[in-house]
């Protein structure tokens, strides 16, 4: 997924802060990589998936993406690794696996 260019907050000097720290770029939260907060990542076992969509429905961060073929995949750019999808899955088709240093 293409990510919109956005100023990194760590590069903003105090003089450049917008009045009231108002955010003027709509939808800019989606470009924030919240995936790096994760300690465990969901791993999908497609052979067990029955396409019920409960993981997609329960994900608090809209980080489960419905695919054209009816399956679902985690969006690891945004997924914070809460594990709700793994718990809610009736077929245990998602397991949480510890993140390892790349």
């Amino acid at each position: 997924m293409a990510r919109k260019e956005l100023t990194n907050p760590a590069d903003v000097a105090w003089q450049d802060v917008e009045l009231g720290a108002v955010v003027t770029t709509p939808g800019s939260a989606s470009v924030r990589r919240t995936g790096d907060w994760r300690t465990e990542q969901p791993v999908l076992h497609k052979e067990k998936c029955i396409k019920c969509g409960l993981c997609w429905l329960h994900c608090p961060d809209a980080a489960i993406i419905p695919l054209d073929d009816g399956y679902f995949e985690p969006d690891l750019y945004h997924c914070k690794g809460c594990g709700i999808c793994a718990v809610i899955c009736p077929k245990k088709a998602i397991t949480m696996v510890e993140e390892v240093e790349q």
Binding site: V17, E18, T24, P26
Partner: protein, 400 residues
């Protein structure tokens, strides 16, 4: 032409809010502020004021409601006192952080417990660091004038900060006295239409109140701090324009008979009027005494204050608030801090009185002048001296 009317300060504030043609008023009634929202509700109900009057279930909701109104660019007003300001507290910070020019009249009231509906400055002192512009009024005319001025300067593109107008509960809020009310055309000349560049609107979406990660929070807060201090030029410009149109002059630091004065009484709020009376009688006896009224509390007027006390030996400061376990009354502490790096600074002598509606009479101010001079010459082992405390020996106080 202005016309002379007789109004209590609460109704004077309501008149100013009406003449400012506010869009939204949200307030919860609390003594001694009640007459302000009551009068505004009446004005909206009878068609005198074309605004949304939003009744709310608490002061927290009152501030939250005007925050929402301000976010869409509405000229917004709220008002509270004492416990109400405390309940509102966390949302008070949001107004200044979002840079919404909300105007709030605070009818200063003591804090519980014991329950007291009467005046002191404990309520507003808890808001000292909330980032609002804060001014104090000495009488009903000033309550009207500062409310109008608050909209003018708060909404200025070079300011964009909320303004707290402090008027002493009962002493002003419920006291009726004559004042001049301007004509609407004059007010319109003073107060232009308000335009908020970042107002919430579908065609140009913005997000207000976002998440501030550690890598940006400091920069956001520092930009707010710089902007509040920089607002001073506009605050002065606003008073200048006010004087040009309405003929009444105001300054951040105002002195009375201070020429050649060696001792200045320092007050904020309505007690300044009593203090000035005492200065008159002392001057008649040939004493070099004057008065200093601190009108602007935030941003603190450092340069004006230092200039005003040049050549003065003693400042006798009356605080209407205890800073429990601290260095003295908040005003006294700040004046001391403002003078710390100044050579030949006056001795700042702190008194605390007028708590919970306790009268501070002329004799007490006269005593403060005499005692201040004495401490200035001989020194003192006390951080400050409370006045009029039964059981406390006169001339003693609180040690550090």
């Amino acid at each position: 032409m202005s016309k002379r009317v007789v109004l209590e300060a609460s109704h004077a504030v309501a008149e100013a809010v009406k003449m400012a043609d506010v869009d939204v008023v949200a307030a919860y009634p609390i003594t001694p502020q009640t007459h302000i929202p009551e009068r505004l509700a009446e004005m909206v109900a009878n068609g005198e004021l074309d605004a949304a009057y939003i009744p709310v279930e608490s002061e927290h909701s009152a501030m939250s409601t005007v925050l929402g109104a301000a976010a869409v660019g509405a000229r917004s007003f709220t008002t509270t006192a004492g416990q109400g300001l405390e309940l509102m507290h966390e949302a008070v910070y949001v107004a200044s952080s979002h840079r919404y020019p909300i105007v709030m009249a605070v009818c200063n009231r003591a804090l519980s417990s014991p329950i007291s509906i009467w005046c002191d400055h404990s309520d507003v002192m808890s808001c000292r660091d909330t980032g609002w512009i804060q001014v104090f009024c000495q009488n009903n005319q000033e309550s009207f004038d500062m409310t109008l001025w608050a909209f003018r300067v708060g909404e200025d593109p070079g300011v964009m900060f909320p303004v707290m107008v402090n008027l002493d509960g009962f002493t002003l809020s419920h006291v009726t006295e004559p004042l001049m009310l301007p004509e609407q055309a004059e007010v319109d000349r003073f107060l232009p239409k308000y335009e908020y560049r970042l107002a919430l609107r579908p065609e140009a979406p913005t997000s207000h109140g976002g998440f501030g990660l550690p890598e940006i929070y400091t920069e956001v807060k520092f930009s707010q701090e710089v902007a509040l201090r920089a607002s001073r030029t506009v605050l002065d410009k606003g008073w200048k324009e006010f004087a040009d149109i309405f003929g009444r002059e105001y300054k951040a630091v105002e002195t009375y008979r201070a020429d050649g004065a060696k001792t200045l009484l320092v007050t904020m709020g309505s007690l300044g009027e009593t203090a000035k009376m005492v200065v008159d009688s002392k001057r008649e006896k040939g004493e070099a005494v004057g008065h200093l009224n601190l009108r602007l509390w935030r941003p603190f007027p450092f340069a004006d204050f230092r200039e005003a006390v040049k050549g003065v030996d003693t400042l006798a400061v009356l605080d209407r608030c205890i800073s429990f376990g601290g260095p003295g009354g908040p005003v006294c502490s700040e004046l001391r801090a403002a003078l710390y790096d100044v050579d030949n600074r006056p001795k700042v002598v702190g008194f605390i009185g007028g708590l919970g509606g306790r009268e501070v009479d002329a004799e007490t101010f006269a005593y403060m002048i005499d005692r201040g001079k004495e401490i200035s010459e001989k020194g003192s082992e006390y951080l400050y001296e409370p006045v009029l405390v039964r059981g406390l020996e006169t001339g003693t106080g609180v040690r550090g």
